[in-house]
């Protein structure tokens, strides 16, 4: 009686072991990654933010550019939908209508007042400004809005009445896009330079190493600043966007290139490379088909880890005014306004995008860390 469950358990154990030994590298990494709770939470947060960025036009009730401004509610505080007030309860959440007036009573200044008797109910799937979903499908439906001519600003508005909620969602996407482009460019550069240095070795390696080391020694933000300062003021926001990504990529490659080179130097003396050489394979073929796949997982992890640095650099550049500028919504461009004393003291809701920035970077760091631990076959034994 008592042997049966044990035998059963042994069978399951055997199966689990078999599955473990026959699993591909990807499956192993995924299994280890799934076991890391912090990394999984971070991964979900990351996916959520990416989706928010991807569907930003649908989720945001108003155009994030000056076209979507609310001239009746400039520098307006965030509006929270309510379910009840002194006038009674409502199943449908509502906000109050705002009115703006300028008269002798207000000393000829614009004063925004809230009309507590006039409720604006929150509606879902309303028709609003036109956009292209995912850049192709023309649409004008938005997740939410309020009825009538009123507008709802969950995160408040900025000095020109632009909705900060809409801007934040679009900014997440822009920052992600800049980061992705930058990582891709630096990845290709690192692959080519590190690959050539590591595979050929000798004097080519020495020269490339010298250049790589020199670039690594120069502090990158001053270098970014120097490159970004070349940007003429008349460039369009798209050109600026691409230029900034290219700069980020041009400066980000040395660390990864060095790692690829070190790896190649150790791998190229292995027997399988010799075997391929004896079969008459060309250098390019050996690098592409044999050497690179041997450390794909490390490259992916490295890219993931360098991502927050890219986003951070973009933010820092835009923050000091050398990166993306106001009509474009990037997290850094949104933070530009935060440093004004007026904002610090009176309009603290400008800081809301900062929370998203911190969350985005933290999510990337935790996912990158989790991936690194998962890709390291010795991580279990180390701890």
């Amino acid at each position: 009686m008592s042997t049966e469950p044990a035998a059963l358990a042994a069978g399951i154990d055997q199966k689990a072991k078999e599955a473990y030994f026959t699993a591909s590298q990807g499956q192993l990494i995924w299994a280890r990654f799934r076991g890391n709770r912090t990394a999984m939470i971070a991964a979900w947060a990351l996916v959520l933010m990416i989706l928010m960025g991807l569907f930003a036009p649908f989720l945001s009730p108003y155009d994030p550019t000056i076209a979507g401004r609310d001239e009746n509610y400039e520098n307006g505080a965030p509006q929270f939908p309510k379910f009840w007030d002194e006038n009674g309860f409502s199943a449908r959440p509502f906000i109050y209508a705002t009115e703006r007036e300028r008269s002798i009573k207000t000393n000829f200044r614009w004063v925004v007042t809230e009309n507590r008797d006039k409720r604006l109910y929150v509606r879902f799937f309303v028709t609003g400004w036109n956009y292209k979903l995912l850049g192709v499908v023309p649409a004008s439906r938005h997740l939410f809005g309020v009825d009538g001519d009123g507008k709802i600003h969950l995160f408040g508005t900025d000095a020109s009445g632009k909705d900060i909620f809409s801007r934040t969602l679009h900014a997440i996407w822009t920052s992600l896009a800049v980061g992705t482009l930058g990582v891709l460019i630096s990845f290709v550069l690192a692959l080519v330079i590190g690959g050539v240095a590591g595979y050929f070795g000798g004097w080519i390696d020495s020269v490339l190493q010298m250049v790589t080391d020199a670039i690594r020694t120069v502090p990158s933000i001053p270098l970014f600043m120097a490159l970004a300062a070349f940007m003429p003021d008349h460039w369009s926001s798209e050109t600026r966007f691409f230029f900034i990504s290219i700069i980020l990529g041009l400066i980000g490659w040395p660390t990864l290139a060095r790692r690829i080179r070190t790896h190649l130097l150790t791998e190229r003396t292995q027997e399988y490379v010799l075997a391929a050489e004896l079969c008459g394979a060309s250098s390019g073929h050996i690098i592409r088909r044999h050497l690179l796949p041997s450390f794909t997982s490390y490259i992916i992890v490295d890219l993931m880890i360098s991502f927050p640095y890219m986003v951070r650099s973009e933010t820092a550049l835009s923050f000091i005014g050398l990166g993306l500028k106001d009509p474009v919504n990037s997290l850094g461009a949104l933070m530009q306004n935060v440093s004004k004393a007026d904002v610090l003291l009176n309009y603290q809701w400008y800081f809301i995008p900062v929370i998203f920035f911190v969350a985005l970077v933290l999510a990337f760091v935790f996912v990158g860390d989790g991936l690194r631990d998962a890709a390291d076959p010795y991580s279990d034994t180390k701890k």
């Binding site: 502090p219 600043m225 300062a229 951070r312 440093s339 610090l344």
Partner: protein, 335 residues
């Protein structure tokens, strides 16, 4: 000894080559800036009312030696910098860069080095203790704090401290000197005033450096602490702080010394932005000024070169130091 001298000489030569490569990169960057110094100077004259012609620009270019080929100009620049320590004249301000920078650069370097010392003064003890502690709460919160060092950039921290101090103390804590000392010559009183204000930039610059250093120290300690010689030492009856300091810490701090240069690099990265927010009057702010506002390529190049040079010097010093205390490094370098 001869071996050590040879090692030091090789390292010095390598540092010199790195510096030369850096100078080439910086000089090329300066060349890439749209417009030349001559045009900039004459554009200024133009605003003052005098008519200028193409011939004037050409004459000015000849006077500044801008008509010579690129390599020759680079050689001259490098020669002046390395032999005379001269960076030439600023394009816009029309003053000698050395004069403009001398105080400001040393202040920047002092602040950054202080931030570096600050970060390791915190990171080394805490890192060692956290690596030897098995408490998951301690470890996880430390990990979180180090990640926050990356996620909460220094400029945001600076902003938040400014907001807080404006509301609470009514003083935004910006600037490096009080009003009465701003233009005074250096004296003990001025130095004291400087110290009373410099702690904030030091703290802010040290913030993310501390987070990084903490992670490095902890990871290195974790690698060492499980090794057999530590077990053997504890079997011999060594325990507590004595065990940690004399055995694993000694070994794990070697690589830390080696990476000091990169930590300084990271601190320099933050410098211009923090300087901008705290309205510091030192070379970080000057760099920003020369790049973003006035396109002063001579000045910007000089500052970037000086910053990088101090990193190279630090790298060289730590290498020599490490070789002095650890003969394995020396032998490893000799091949």
């Amino acid at each position: 000894m001869a071996q050590f001298a040879q090692f030091a000489l090789t390292r010095a030569l390598m540092a010199l080559i790195t510096l030369l490569t850096v100078s080439l990169i910086v000089f090329t960057l300066m060349e890439l800036v749209p417009g030349t110094c001559a045009e900039r100077y004459l554009a200024f004259k133009n605003t003052q009312g005098s008519q200028i012609t193409i011939a004037d620009i050409a004459a000015e270019e000849r006077r500044l030696g801008l008509d010579r080929p690129f390599i020759e100009r680079w050689g001259k620049w490098v020669y002046n910098v390395f032999v005379h320590g001269e960076f030439g004249e600023s394009c816009i301000l029309r003053v000698d860069i050395n004069q403009l920078l001398s105080d400001k650069f040393w202040i920047s370097l002092g602040i950054c080095m202080a931030a570096l010392v600050f970060s390791y003064a915190i990171a080394v003890p805490i890192g060692i203790v956290s690596a030897s502690s098995q408490n998951p709460v301690v470890n996880n919160s430390l990990r979180f704090v180090s990640y926050l060092g990356l996620a909460l950039p220094n400029f945001l921290l600076a902003l938040m401290i400014m907001l807080f101090s404006t509301v609470v103390f009514g003083d935004s804590l910006t600037g490096l000197f009080s009003k009465e000392f701003r233009d005074a010559a250096w004296s003990w009183a001025k130095f004291g005033d400087f110290l009373s204000r410099a702690w904030l930039p030091v703290f802010i610059l040290g913030w993310s450096a501390t987070a990084f250093a903490l992670q490095t120290v902890r990871a290195l300690m974790l690698d060492e602490i499980g090794k057999l010689y530590v077990t053997a030492a504890s079997a011999r009856g060594v325990s507590g702080a004595r065990l940690l300091w004399r055995y694993p810490a000694k070994h794990s701090l070697g690589p830390v010394i080696n990476s000091l240069g990169f930590d300084l690099n990271r601190i320099f990265n933050e410098l211009p932005i923090v300087a901008l927010i705290l309205t510091l009057t030192e070379s970080g702010a000057l760099l920003f000024e020369s790049l973003a506002r006035s396109n002063d390529q001579q000045l910007a190049g000089a500052i970037i070169f000086l910053l990088t040079a101090s990193i190279v010097v630090l790298n060289f010093t730590t290498d020599i130091l490490l070789a002095l205390i650890d003969p394995r490094v020396r032998r490893g370098m000799m091949g």
